[in-house]
Symmetry: C2
Subunit: 379 residues, 2 copies
């Protein structure tokens, strides 16, 4: 499939090539939230220990993105080193340059759950000017990068001070299209009375319902995710159930993660197939000698009709085609359609083989997973 991607210049149009480590990496859990909601303490709670480089406190403390990963020896790896490590799935972060890489580090840490999951701690989202001016990199773009590559996104809120700033709203909008990966945590819920908690929780859902456009309700876990005893005991049983559920949700990730990756692979393979046909089709429509430029312009303008023609000839569902407008934009970027590659019977067979045989087999391998008892592995 990689051969097809190269030959038809897939990368110029859609997504960068996927590397081996993108498949092998452990599922990644991203923590997002306003400052002081307890993101760092949450990771500590899940690991049942502190991790190298962590800082916990009431003011904005965590000032960088920290990937907390398993290793026998505790160690901090600076962002620049981490992004060139081909064993780790962070090479893509090079694109954000030094401004970001000095605010990124790896925290190697010997904790059992890290053998299965990697956590990414983030700096708290601030409000107003501070969020925009105080950072040496584009927080939104970096967050977007992590959002796309994470297997679960934990959105934390503090039950004591629930103000959803505009900046936080923008951050939530970055989650668009990845809502299925989001879990909301209403943290420090033991610090207020039951009636207050219900008001805060209701207000949270009310606002989230307005910002998140999906009809499906996000799953919220309510509790106090750190190692201290509860203040308001009335809800002990409920909090404990919620915390247990969240942990088994986390522990189910490894399996879901492979399924999700295969799912994405299928999506990509279908797109690659369609892309191949589009490129070959456009080439075939080009005149041999003169009038290339006009022909290209016409083809771009009537791209939707070309898509429909391909759909008819190749029997590919229209849903597999890329966005017309985006494709038109790319094609307009001074490309010479006559240099595109024609159709190749061999490669057509290859991609069909991938879609019909390889991927379904891969799926079967992962599908009936060894059954796990979440309780026995509870941290």
């Amino acid at each position: 499939m990689l051969e097809i991607e190269r030959r038809y210049r897939f990368e110029d149009f859609h997504a960068p090539v996927m590397r081996g480590c993108d498949f092998d990496a452990k599922p990644m859990v991203l923590l997002l939230g306003q400052y002081s909601v307890g993101k760092t303490s949450f990771i500590e709670y899940i690991l049942k220990r502190q991790f190298p480089g962590e800082r916990v406190g009431p003011e904005p403390t965590t000032d960088r993105f920290i990937a907390v990963m398993y290793d026998k020896e505790d160690q901090i790896i600076p962002g620049n080193a981490l992004s060139v490590d081909i064993e780790k799935p962070f090479h893509g972060l090079n694109a954000f340059g030094n401004g970001f890489l000095t605010k990124f580090e790896g925290s190697l840490c010997n904790a059992e759950i890290l053998e299965r999951i990697t956590f990414v701690d983030t700096p708290g989202i601030l409000s107003g000017e501070k969020q925009r001016l105080g950072r040496s990199y584009d927080f939104a773009e970096v967050t977007q990068w992590f959002v796309q590559r994470s297997d679960m996104i934990l959105l934390l809120f503090d039950a004591h001070k629930l103000d959803i700033s505009d900046e936080f709203k923008s951050a939530i909008e970055l989650l668009k299209g990845n809502e299925d990966k989001v879990r909301v945590i209403l943290n420090k819920a033991d610090g207020i009375s039951t009636q207050q908690l219900m008001r805060v929780y209701g207000a949270l859902m009310w606002s989230l319902g307005k910002v998140v456009k999906t009809p499906e309700v996000l799953r919220v876990y309510i509790g106090s995710f750190w190692d201290q005893p509860y203040q308001n005991d009335e809800f002990r049983k409920f909090f404990e159930l919620e915390q247990r559920d969240l942990i088994s949700d986390l522990l189910q990730l490894p399996r879901n993660s492979s399924v999700r990756k295969i799912n994405e692979l299928v999506k990509r393979a279908r797109l690659v197939r369609t892309h191949m046909y589009i490129m070959a089709h456009l080439k075939s429509k080009m005149p041999v000698l003169i009038g290339k430029e006009t022909a290209q312009k016409e083809l771009i303008k009537g791209l939707l009709n070309e898509f429909k023609e391909i759909e008819r000839i190749k029997k590919i569902p229209l849903g597999d085609f890329p966005d017309v407008a985006a494709m038109q934009q790319r094609l307009a970027l001074n490309m010479d359609f006559s240099t595109f590659q024609p159709e190749s019977e061999r490669l057509t067979k290859t991609i069909e083989q991938v879609l019909q045989i390889d991927l379904p087999q891969l799926m079967k391998l992962v599908q009936p997973p060894k059954s796990e008892d979440p309780k026995s592995t509870n941290p």
Copy 2:
């Protein structure tokens, strides 16, 4: 003020004349919700007794609008009789004709709280065809009538089956502009586990946040509002607090209701004043003999400019003016501007007196109310 309304044909443009009983009536609490959520049982719970004509049951039971009002003797009054009773605030319902009046009745009932509040029970909102076809009147229009005249609207949900049908969504949309009067009740909350309750409550707020466009969160009371003991005891204390709060919310109505009515009166008086100036202004701009029609058309077309002129001369805030487009529509309805009344110094003085002296005095009368201890009057 009534004289001004007549002279300047206020009713043709804005709202019907207000009658004495519109001011004297007790605050009215309207119950809305899908069928079987417990609306009728709720009234029974508040009254601490059954009321004449009530029917409670798991299928759709209440098939009419029932105004539950105080009287020493229990009695049912049919809708037709009730709508002609000038002592009661239901004369406006005549407009809906017999199709509705046969589905409307008064339930006179000797219960203490009815001396202060009138409750209106309604038929449950059904889903699909049944809601549209099964009724001999326009449910939406009638509901709208009650919504506008109620002092509080209780929107009930059943924690066991929270499906917000499209019909119910439309019903919620009828509340637009009256969100401040709405209280939500999540009823039968004791019948499910705490975790389930939290999911249902979250889903409710999520959906409501999408349908109700105000940023302010609606107040929700969670509990089980009938005379049976709780099934799930874990929440006893919380439910009891919620139920107490709701009742004190209800008992605060009488005072708020007068304030609200004065508030509406002030709004109306300001609109009457502006209306008077507009009518007189339009008359003054009419030619004496010929070209009336063209002049009228020009005036309607340039109405916004005329408003601005009045604003400048009379020093009336632009916010007091009616909607330009709506006013243009009314004025186009074959009216002869030259028949409008000119300005009258006496009436100008009257309305200023109303706005500057009478209404503020009225407000003072109601403002510092005799303080009430809600607990001592708890049913």
